[in-house]
């Protein structure tokens, strides 16, 4: 008897497991446990039949922002009787999963996302356009620009972020000078071991953090149209690009030593938090580290290195609607009437403190000087290009900057090689 039992136990488990394995493949149409479902309440009983026909709205959201979206969803359910399923996912997974699952019909109706995904969402045909109508004017221009592709709006922006110049107010009480050179001179006068520190992401390079300096030379990654949208023409070529490359080389490790590929984000943050440098370029995400280390900070726009306005990349967060949604009408209703409201945008800000993309709310939260500083820095900025070509640029661009900074490559040559590589990749 005993033998029989033992023989069967693992097998039963095995078959159960196989069964479960199959079950996963069968599709996650009914998202499991941790997906709070906002029910329409008791009155929903009768509606429910209709709603199975009408379908529930499925929204992908990350853990941080889940409570804020849940609040908007609850209101929506109360007023319309439509159920909303929130599926909590890792933000890093959402882009690839959305691309893979929308075509299979397993995707959500709405997902949270970053605007720079837009290009790939478009050429993969998974995103629907959005019409905010007159409400679009209530948003920061840069946020609407970011979600606009080829003249059409493809998402609802809700928050933006950019890097700014962060200053240690104890070491440098005065607002930062207008130019990079003056700032460095001030930094040297202060006498800390470093006049300035910036994340270079080690030998990988970090075009994102350095971008404001690059634009101050008039060398944007891609040429922008008058309305702020990007063409697919690379803007880094020509004298402006060379000037920036040479500037990187002069101030790099073989020159002035103001930049270093030894600096990863951890090291740069640590140097600043230790008070070894009065100035750094960082985003809102780093402020916590500095404050925890007991540093008082202020945020200013980034000073110009090449004479023109130093425009950092602005990243915009928002919501996308699936092109294959069965509930597109309900999804549009939810976004335009329940998320694009000051209350909901404010709740999203509270859940995840980025700068609200809705102007009224942004002004409201700008009472905090740090938020105000980042808002000012962002208003100088340009949206990160969302065109699909951008994805092919990052690696070449970062690596070239790192090579120039480390002194292992001659600036002009390396820059030319980068432009040729980018051309080859874009052409191929």
């Amino acid at each position: 008897m005993r033998k029989t039992l033992i023989r069967f136990a693992p097998l039963a488990i095995a078959v159960l497991l196989v069964a479960c394995g199959g079950g996963d493949d069968a599709g996650d149409e009914a998202p499991p446990e941790d997906t709070p479902t906002e029910d329409a309440g008791e009155t929903g009983e009768d509606d429910n039949e209709d709603q199975t026909a009408g379908g529930a709205l499925t929204i992908w959201v990350d853990e941080n922002r889940e409570p804020a979206v849940a609040a908007a969803a609850e209101l929506f359910t109360d007023e319309t009787g439509v159920t909303v399923d929130l599926v909590v996912k890792n933000f890093e997974d959402i882009r690839a999963d959305f691309l893979a699952q929308v075509p299979t019909g397993e995707g959500p109706d709405i997902t949270i996302g970053a605007h720079d995904w837009l290009g790939s969402l478009i050429i993969n045909g998974v995103v629907d356009s959005v019409d905010l109508g007159a409400a679009a004017s209530e948003f920061e221009d840069v946020a609407i620009e970011a979600f606009t592709y080829d003249g059409q709006l493809y998402g609802l922006p809700y928050a933006l972020e950019s890097v700014g110049l962060v200053r240690n107010t104890e070491l440098a009480p005065d607002p930062v000078a207008d130019t990079f050179d003056e700032m460095i001179a001030d930094g040297r006068d202060i006498g800390t071991s470093l006049p300035f520190v910036i994340n270079t992401n080690g030998t990988t390079g970090d075009g994102y953090t350095y971008y404001a300096f690059q634009t101050s030379f008039g060398a944007p990654v891609f040429v922008q149209n008058d309305d702020g949208s990007y063409t697919n023409e690379v803007g880094m070529g020509g004298d402006a690009g060379y000037a920036f490359a040479e500037w990187l080389g002069e101030n790099g490790m073989a020159g002035e030593g103001l930049f270093s590929t030894d600096w990863t984000i951890d090291i740069a943050d640590q140097e600043f938090a230790d008070g070894n440098a009065p100035y750094t370029v960082a985003g809102p995400w780093a402020i916590g580290t500095y404050v925890d280390a007991g540093i008082e900070v202020a945020v200013d726009p980034i000073p110009s290195a090449g004479g023109e306005t130093a425009a950092p990349f602005v990243g915009v967060q928002g919501f996308f609607v699936s092109a294959q949604s069965d509930n597109a009408l309900v999804a549009a209703d939810f976004l335009t009437n329940y998320v694009a409201t000051p209350d909901a945008i404010r709740a999203l800000h509270d859940a995840d403190p980025r700068i609200p993309a809705m102007s009224v709310v942004a002004e409201d939260v700008a009472e905090d000087p740090i938020v105000a500083g980042f808002l000012e820095a962002a208003q100088n900025g340009a949206p990160m290009p969302s065109i699909p070509e951008m994805a092919d640029v990052w690696e070449h661009w970062n690596a070239t900057q790192a090579a120039i900074i480390s002194g292992s490559a001659e600036p002009r040559e390396a820059w030319d090689k980068m432009l040729a590589d980018i051309d080859a990749t874009l052409g191929g």
Partner: protein, 536 residues
């Protein structure tokens, strides 16, 4: 009752063999019945769920598995299958399915721009090319219905205008309006919001409805997105399902569906969204011939072999030497020291790799390795092609020698003492014993593990990705690859999961090649190790 188990050499001890004594009842059978009932229930639940979902492949597969399970465990003729079945089921679900699926993807051009079906690509293109007419305001809109036909009523300048797909907007003076809401139009029923939100089919009809503004189609037509506002849109593309063409409504350029999964016009311009098509063995050919990948491919393949072989060799030798030393009874505190040795193995590899990345920072102020061991000299561990390779092998040695230390310690302790004693009697010294007697004996138990370790390191994604990300970059190619990339990180780069342009077809083709390489080498090596066993 012919039973396979009893025909060969029936055990005679204690009368009838076990299988014969089995009467099929008793409470063992009841337990079996209960377990099988549970299995069937789960199986049927999945079959039902996949039926509801319309996932026919899973339905058929699950049905087959459930039926097979019942047959295997209730039939008296299938004793061997009773043991093999669970393993086979796992093999089918987790291995074979993955392989078939990967091969299937490798035959397609699945990737950025070819992400879905042709229908979905058309949907997306139509969405992207239907634009709001410049300066068109958003009109308050009400949805109307009559005899299965839908219509819109919009309020423009205080006037109500009504239209449907076939009849352009015309003013309806008899309509009653409450604020912006049209409450009644003669000849039409007003669809209220609750009805709309509760009816998915109706929602789709509403979204698909375009009400022409006038008789002239170029003026555009009203559409709505959420059922309360209407805006004038104009479509720039026209889809002809019969001819499979999309036509630009302004320039009249015709984009035809082509075999490569794109809509291409006669002048060669293509619309941005494509779809998946089967491309046969193109991806395999491309892996070897694409100028962007072909040159780096061979270099990366060479480095992958070098990396896997060197890692296994160094860590095995180091582990073996350590094991021999710490196997000597004269070493004090062996147990404590052995525990300490296992530590690197106990840490998650990706964490250790990240730590090492920091410690290998070229600047001695930040990188403790240069500071402590190289007198504060600046050594570009991660930025020089050869040093980066050395760093990877070194860190991987640190990570994996404890494993070999463990394995070799166990193997050493189980060496047959009679053979060693015989060697001593025959006059072999300590050195001779180590070189001629012990290795063959050790290899009997460790050779399969060495092969497994080689296969593992051949695809050791973690260490490369966490330590160098493949850097430093090749400077003589445009491909985003570097000196320390191995085949699997190259495939990851091409697949574009992390961002960038994805090419799942090519990535799948390459992973099949890697699978074949590892498989052939492993099979060959296992065959060779059989000879080792003849030693004893």
């Amino acid at each position: 009752m012919p039973d396979a188990g009893t025909q060969g050499s029936p055990p005679r001890l204690g009368g009838e063999p076990h299988a014969r004594a089995w009467r099929g009842t008793g409470w063992g059978f009841i337990v079996k019945l209960v377990i099988m009932a549970a299995i069937n229930a789960v199986g049927l639940a999945i079959v039902w769920a996949s039926y509801v979902e319309g996932s026919w492949g899973i339905l058929v597969g699950m049905l087959a598995l459930t039926v097979a399970a019942d047959w295997v465990y209730f039939s008296k003729r299938s004793l061997p299958s009773k043991y093999i079945f669970p393993g086979m089921a796992f093999l089918l679900v987790f291995q074979l399915f993955t392989m078939v699926y990967t091969f299937n993807v490798a035959m397609t051009n699945y990737g950025t721009g070819h992400n879905s079906t042709q229908d979905q690509a058309v949907d997306a293109l139509l969405i992207q090319n239907e634009r709001a007419v410049d300066g068109s305001p958003a009109y308050p809109l009400t949805i109307l219905q009559r005899d299965g036909e839908l219509g819109f009523a919009v309020v423009a300048g205080g006037q109500v205008q009504v239209g449907s797909a076939d009849s352009p907007l015309a003013s309806a003076p008899d309509a009653t309006v409450d604020g912006d809401q049209v409450t009644a139009v003669s000849g039409w029923d007003v669809v209220d919001r609750a009805t709309l939100l509760g009816d998915q089919a109706l929602q789709r009809q509403v979204l698909d409805l375009r009400v022409p503004v006038s008789e002239d189609a170029d003026d555009g037509s009203i559409r709505t997105r959420e059922g309360t506002r209407g805006t004038v849109y104009r479509s720039m593309l026209e889809w002809d399902p019969q001819a499979e063409t999309l036509t630009d409504t302004e320039t009249r350029v015709v984009y035809r569906a082509r075999d490569n999964g794109r809509f291409v016009a006669d002048d060669g311009t293509a619309l941005p969204v494509g779809w998946q098509v089967y491309v046969g063995f193109d991806n395999f050919v491309r892996g070897f011939t694409d100028t962007n990948y072909a040159a780096p491919f061979w270099r990366i393949a060479a480095w992958t072999f070098a990396f896997a072989i060197l890692t296994v060799a160094t860590s095995f030798l180091m582990g073996l030497v350590m094991a021999i030393i710490f196997n000597d009874p004269r070493v004090q505190g062996r147990n404590v020291l052995r525990m300490l040795f296992i530590l690197p193995y106990a840490f998650p590899a990706f964490l250790s790799a990240l730590l090492w990345r920091g410690m290998l920072n070229a600047n001695p102020d930040y990188g403790i390795i240069n500071d402590l061991f190289f007198f504060g000299t600046r050594i570009e561990w991660l930025n020089d092609p050869w040093l980066a390779k050395l760093a990877i092998i070194g860190v991987n040695l640190w990570l994996s020698f404890p494993y070999w230390f463990l394995v070799c310690t166990g193997a050493l302790q189980s060496l047959p003492s009679d053979v060693l004693e015989a060697a001593r009697i025959d006059g072999a010294g300590r050195w001779r014993t180590w070189t001629s007697v012990m290795p063959p004996l050790l290899l009997i138990s460790t050779a399969p593990l060495i092969i497994a370790s080689f296969a593992f390191n051949f695809n050791n994604f973690t260490i490369i990705y966490m330590l160098t990300e493949g850097h430093p970059r090749f400077t003589d190619t445009s491909a985003v690859l570097g000196h320390t990339d191995i085949l699997i990180t190259m495939i990851y780069q091409i697949s574009g999961v992390a961002g960038g342009r994805a090419d799942y077809g090519l990535a799948s083709a390459l992973s099949i090649i890697v699978f074949l390489v590892v498989g052939v080498i492993s099979a060959f090596a296992f065959r060779r190790t059989r000879r080792l066993e003849e030693i004893l």
